[in-house]
Symmetry: C2
Subunit: 484 residues, 2 copies
Amino acid sequence: MFIRQSVVKACQQSILALLVSGAFLQGATAANKNDTAPLFTEKELQTAAWIRDAARSDNLSYKILESLTTEVGPRMAGTPGDARAVAWAEAKFKELGFDKVWKEPVTYPSWTRGIEKAEIVAPFPQPLSITALGNSVATPKNGLRAELVEFANLKEMMAAPDEKVQGKIVFINHRMQNSNEYGLVVPGRSAGASEAARKGAVAIVIRSVGTDNHRFPHTGVMQYAPGVAQIPAAAMSNSDADMVARMIKRGKPVSLKLELSSAAAGTYTSYNVIGEMTGSELPNEYVLIGGHLDSWDLGTGAIDDGAGCAITMAAAEFIKRNGLKPKRSIRVVLFANEEQGLFGGKAYLAAHQNQIAQIQAAAEADLGQGPVTKMASFVRTEALPLVKQMHSVLAPLGIEPGDNNAFPGPDMGDLRMAGAASFGLALKADDYFDLHHTPDDTFDKIEPARINQAATTYAVFAWMAAQAPISFGSGQELLKAAKK
Amino acid sequence: MFIRQSVVKACQQSILALLVSGAFLQGATAANKNDTAPLFTEKELQTAAWIRDAARSDNLSYKILESLTTEVGPRMAGTPGDARAVAWAEAKFKELGFDKVWKEPVTYPSWTRGIEKAEIVAPFPQPLSITALGNSVATPKNGLRAELVEFANLKEMMAAPDEKVQGKIVFINHRMQNSNEYGLVVPGRSAGASEAARKGAVAIVIRSVGTDNHRFPHTGVMQYAPGVAQIPAAAMSNSDADMVARMIKRGKPVSLKLELSSAAAGTYTSYNVIGEMTGSELPNEYVLIGGHLDSWDLGTGAIDDGAGCAITMAAAEFIKRNGLKPKRSIRVVLFANEEQGLFGGKAYLAAHQNQIAQIQAAAEADLGQGPVTKMASFVRTEALPLVKQMHSVLAPLGIEPGDNNAFPGPDMGDLRMAGAASFGLALKADDYFDLHHTPDDTFDKIEPARINQAATTYAVFAWMAAQAPISFGSGQELLKAAKK
C-alpha cells in the first residue's frame, strides 16, 4: 500500500468532493472517448486528484524559499554566494528525503560587478540610479564623460547615421510596457553595446528592461559581438530614464559621467545540484523538473529563481512524503548560472546527451512565484489523450489547456531542441518583470497561496508524467513529427 | 475690472453650473443664517467658485514640480543642490510674475552622508540595503561589527536590562503599518540612538519608518541627547528588516558589520526664498502659504516637498495670471532645511516675530501631492462663518470640514504657537510614507489630477483668506481663546 492511512481518508474525502463538483468526472469522460489509446487508470486519476487537493494546504515551497533567501540570499554565479547556494541545495535535498542527491560540475567565465556610478554632469547635475549589465567591461578608472544621444529603441539606433553616435554615450529609452514585451525590449540590453560600438559610441546606458515604476535599475546579461570594440554597458531605473528623457527634451546637450569597474574574473566551476526520487518500475526514465539556483547579486533571487527551485523541490517532496511511489524517477535539477548564459542547462545536456530518450517529460519553473495558468505539452500524438487527462485533473486550479508545441524553460530549452518531451507550465508573470534582476527581488514579495498553487501543479504534473502508461516520446522522432 | 473677458465668460458658466448643482447655493444658505457676522459678498463667492472650477484644468503645479525635479533634483540642506534650488526658486518666482521676490538667510549645521554600507556577517552573510540617518556620526573607519539585538519598538528597548544591549547593535523592528503611524514609529528613529547608547549599545539600525514593501531604506533626521555617547544610526529597508528578523528568529547570534562615514560639516547659510503677490488694499497683511525647498539627498524630493512648493507657487500664480487682485498680500515661502530641524521655519519666525498680527492665515503643504481632503481652521470665533463659506466653496473638490484647532504644517508650526491664524489643508497621504525620504521619491510618482486639485484648493483658500472682510485674528488673543 503506497498511501498512509491518514492520507487514504483525506483521499476519499477529496474524491467525494470531486464527484460532487463534477470537475473530475468531466475530465474522465472526455478522456474515455478515445477508447483505444492508453489512459491513466481510475486509481491513478484519483491519486492525482488527491495530490491536487491535499498539496494545496501544504506550505513547503514557501518554507524552502524562505530558507534559501534567508540563509543564502544573493548567489550570483562565481561568487561566494554561489558556493553557499550549492551547499544549501545539497543539504536541503537530503533534509527533504530525496533518494539520491548529487552535483555535476558547470564551468563558466566569471564576472565581477565592482563600482557602478553615474551622474548627469550637465546641464543639470544629478546622480542616477544605475547598474552594470552582466559581462560589461569597466570604464577607464575615474569614469568616462560624454554627451548622451537618445534612441527610442535598438532598431532606431541601428538605423541612425554613425555621426550621430560617434563619441557619445547611447541612451536606449525603450519602455517595457508589460510582461509580454521582454523579448521585444531585451535585445537593446543584450546586443545594444556592440551595435552602439559599431557606430563609435563610447558607452551605452539603457532604460531598464522592467515594468516597474521604481528607482531600481534592472541588471541582466549582455554579450559583446566578436571583433567589435567592447564598450561599458549599464541600465538606469525607469524613474531615472524618465528624468533623463525630460532633460534631453529641453534641447540642450546632456552629459553623463559613468564609472564602472566591472570585469571578467577568470573561470569558475559551480554545480548543477540534483535530487532524485527514484522510480519504482522504470528508475532510468525520469521526469525532469527544476529551476536555476543562481540569482543576480542585487536582490536575493526570490522570484528569479528561488521560486522555481522551491516549487519543484516541494513538488517532488510532497509525493515522497505521502508515500506515493512513482513508476519513473522524478529528478529535480537546480541549474548553475542560468543568468549569464544558460551554462547549467548546457552542461546538463552535455552530460546527459545520450539519455534524451530516458526523459519522460521536462518542465522548468523560471517565471516567478506562480500561479500556473496554462499547461502546454510537447509529446507524441499517442500521448495526447494522457495530456488531456492531466489537464482535466489540473483544470480546477485555474489552468488553461495549451498547444502541443511547449517550451520547457530556459535551462531545458536545449534538451527540447534535442528531442525531449516537454511541458510548458506557464507561470503568471504579472509582477515578475517589476522585480526581475533588481535589489527588490526579495522574499517579502512572495504570497504563500501563489507559490503553493505552482508547487501543487508541479506535483500533479510530475506524478502523472511519472505514472503514464506509455512514454511521451522523447527522441528524434518527436522532433521530426513536430516539423511536419 | 479685475477679471479678463475670457475669464468672465468661464466664470458665468461656472456659476450657472453651480446653481444647477446646488453646491454653491447650499454653502451660501448655510452661511447666511448668521446674519450679523461679516460675510463674503456674493461677488467674492462667485469669484472663488470660478477659481475652483477654472484652476482644475490648469496644469502649472505639475509643470513647476517637473522643473524642480528635473533641473535641480536632490537638494539636501548644505549641498550644492541646496544652492541650485535657491537659485531655481528665485528665478521661478520671477518667471511666474510674482510682484516681489526675495530671500532671507537661514544658517544651520551641515551634515554629509558619505559611505553607507551594512552586511550581515554571521551566521548567513548578506549585504543589506541601508542608509545613514541624518546627523549620524560615522563608524570607525572600516566599520564596526557586533551582534544584533532586536526590539519590537523603542519603548521595549528602553525597558530592557542594560546587559541585553551592552556592546550590541540595537535593531528596532517597528513596522509602520499605515500613514497615521508616523508619530508612533518615528521616535525610534529620532531618539533611538541616544536611548540605545545609554544602555551601552555601539550602534543602532532601525527598520525604516515607511509603509512600503520595497528595498528602499528611508532616511530622516535623528538627534543626539546632550551628554550621551554618540553612536552611529542607520535605517534598513522594510524588505531587509523582514529578512534580518527571519534570521534572528532562528535563534543563533546574528552579527552585523556597519560602515558609515557621515559627519558634521560646519555651518552653512541657505535661504528661505519668498515670492509675494502684493495686496491691493492691505498689502502689509498677508496670507502665508508654502512648502519646504530642501529635500533629502536620496531621491529628488518630488513628494517631499517639491509638491508643496509647486502647489503653493501655482496657487498664487493662478490668481495673478487671471487678473484677480487680492486685497491682502499672498506670500509664498519656500523654507530652507526643514528636514534636519525646521531651520527655515524658525528663521522665518525670528525675522518676522513682530508681524504675527499681520498674518491673515498660514497654511503649509508638506504631505505630498494631494488631493486635499479636509480643511481645518484656527481663527477667532467671529471669523468662523467666513470659514464655513470657504468650506462651502471647496466642498465640491471632496474636502471635508475640520475643527478649529488646525496645525498649519511643520515650518509654520512655530508661527501658530506664536498666535498666527492657521489653516490645515490636509493632504491625502496614502502613498506619502511609501516614498518619503527614499531614492524612490521622484517625479514619475506624481499624478497631474492629484497635485492640481491641491493647487486649486490652495488658490481658493489663498484668495478667500486674502479677501476676507475681517481679520482671522492672529495674535495672543487667539492663543488665549484657544486655551479656554
